[in-house]
Amino acid sequence: MTALIFFIFAGIAVLCGVSLVVQTHPIASALSLIGVMGSLALLYLQLGGEFIAAAQLIVYAGAIMVLFVFVIMLLNAGAEGVSRQVSAMARYAGILLLASFLGLISFIIQAALPKTEGVVFGAFQGGTAEAIGRKLFTVYLLPFEVTSVLILIAILGAIVLARKEV
């Protein structure tokens, strides 16, 4: 059952990732990205990350993608025109190189990782909001505070960049 869920959602994630790259219209790419994020949230849940799965859906698939779709609609972004001069040979060689690179990476990961038993749902219970909150506000307190300053700077920067010239 665990394997079945992994294969289904890994398949959806890879298909949506490919769709993100090959679609010409930005809205289609944005919807594909939402598909990737949703299926990744399911995989996080399988790995025991309840809080991260919820945050993935709320923050990534909710807030950030709404921002993207909003900007696409606002700028009325259409499909990409005819691509610049890319020869067919370069395109196929690129796909081939990407595939062989990923195959090599997969081989290295398989070879380097110690043999572990399979992933079992519920084997890791430490990903609850309580556990994350405890660690976030004790061990990782300084990075957390620095992050708040970062967000403040980002808000100011976004306002300064997007306002009307005065």
């Binding site: 294969f7 993100l20 790259v21 995989l43 991260i52 992933v119």
Partner: protein, 103 residues
């Protein structure tokens, strides 16, 4: 079909998604799609953080990916503001037409 999958398959999925993100970053010409490819790469990295967190039975990886999410949100806000400004000045979203810093 096996009853459960080894941990390394999650890492391979993460690598595949990261590779797709890199490919989209290089291949696409619409600046918004390029930006979405960056988000895809960040998501792939998050997946390997959560996977290692499961493998090591420690919660730190979840906190790292939480920070990655926060930084991605800030990056999206600033980046989309930059895209708006570029569109206001150039009336285009194609990165080939915004190349005055190239030469």
């Amino acid at each position: 079909m096996p009853a459960s999958v080894p941990l390394s398959w999650y890492l391979i999925l993460s690598a595949v998604l990261f590779g797709l993100g890199v490919a989209g970053f290089i291949y696409r010409r619409n600046i918004i799609t390029v930006f979405m490819s960056i988000e895809l790469m960040l998501n792939a990295v998050n997946l390997s953080f959560v996977t290692f967190s499961y493998g090591l039975k420690q919660v730190d990886g979840h906190i790292f990916s939480f920070f990655v999410m926060v930084v991605a949100a800030a990056e999206a806000a600033v980046g989309l503001a930059i895209i708006l400004t570029v569109f206001k000045n150039r009336q285009t979203l194609m990165i080939d037409d915004v190349s005055s810093m190239k030469y």
